[in-house]
Symmetry: C2
Subunit: 239 residues, 2 copies
């Protein structure tokens, strides 16, 4: 199996190519550290960007929504869409405006989503999604009704092309400014997890679900996601 | 001045309209709580989504990049682009897969970006950007060289249409599941600020810049952004 996405006209970084990566390990690491993506698609000739939760299984990305969604219908109409996942990791303050920047990791992944319409496959996909976020949660909850599955559509997209772009490090200062008597540095930013808030309607005596054990209060979201240890679910679709 | 963006075919929420808002106060609150957006645009008939830092002044959004950027050139080629800003606020675990969800706030804003190409106007815009994030920082740093300004392009986009979509609250449970002996609740998520990391090349005795005073370690990023108290800069472009 290829360990690298071949750079294409869509994905090759022309500027600052040293920030680009095409190996699957890097691309998947950026993807798997988040659960929220931005899907770009064309509708009547114009671009739309919809934020949505997503998950990955092998070389495929998945997301879902209402079966009545105009956005999802457009995304599955045969067009190539762009799924972008980004992490804002910090603010960079240099000694000139020019060396102010942000730290980030991002991936642009391109492919042609297809709709999963069969009930059993949708059920498997949704269990993989929820079980991927919250291990063994699918066994805790009431199984989906057929009508619930009928009300949603799951999109499955083989990643045909992808690149990662990463700006790490610190201040990339202009040499001539290094002696300026001006503070410079980085303000780190991270997505963090808060203490779980039980549903006010919870029955008495119900303990917090072990499926959210990795989401420790104060943890970085990406560390929580890395701590899920896999869901044990079979990746759905298109294998 | 209108206090509301008129809903259009692009921005009207067809599904769950109760989650939609078109008033400028709500739209701007979602925008101003972040500094990172996802710009969707069409290039050779296909959608691309680029994450980038942005700022707002009045009814306009701004972002910038290399003057050689193919993406920015496409965005300023006369097309209508979609700027999406989103906040992931929490994970919702219901008593069935169907009532699992995420908490979020998002805005989709549409307009036709134009490139600011004149040096003085770019300088004003960049000072407004940096001074907006870090009050009085423009006076601390070495002013931009003309060559630095020439190397960038700033895009300015009047917001022609916009909608906010907000999923707040907690578990929206199916009535029949309320008696299930299953934990349900919300895991809050927030972007938070870490302790500033001084540039290792900093001269001895340089105190942390007061311009980042609002970015207190442990603070939510959006609270830090709200604590900037305005930059005092004149909003650039198109006034």
């Amino acid at each position: 199996m290829a360990t690298q996405f071949a750079p294409t006209g869509r994905t090759r970084l022309r500027r600052r190519p040293q920030r680009g990566a095409y190996d699957k390990e890097t691309v998947y690491a950026v993807l798997d550290a988040h659960l929220f993506c931005h899907v770009g698609y064309v509708l009547e000739g114009e671009a739309f960007v919809t934020p949505t939760a997503f998950w990955r299984a092998g070389d495929r990305l998945f997301w879902h929504g209402s079966a009545a969604s105009r956005a999802l219908a457009a995304q599955a109409d045969g067009q190539r869409v762009c799924v972008t996942v980004s992490h804002l990791d910090g603010l960079v303050l240099g000694r000139s405006g020019f060396t102010h920047s942000v730290l980030y990791r991002s991936v642009m992944a391109f492919g042609h989503p297809v709709a999963i319409t069969a009930g059993p496959e949708k059920r498997r996909a949704m269990d993989a999604f929820i079980g991927g976020l919250y291990p063994r949660r699918p066994a805790e909850v009431r199984p989906a009704h057929e009508a619930e599955l009928a009300a949603i559509v799951v999109l499955s997209m083989a990643i045909e092309e992808a690149s990662a772009k990463i700006r790490g490090g610190g201040v990339n200062e202009v040499e001539a400014d290094l002696n300026a008597p001006c503070w410079a540095g980085v303000v780190p930013i991270a997505m963090t997890v808060g203490a779980p808030l039980p549903d006010p309607a919870l029955l008495p005596g119900i303990a917090v679900s072990p499926s959210i054990a990795a989401y420790r209060p104060g943890a970085r979201l990406e560390d929580a996601l890395a701590g899920r240890n896999g869901s044990g679910d079979v990746p759905p679709g298109g294998k």
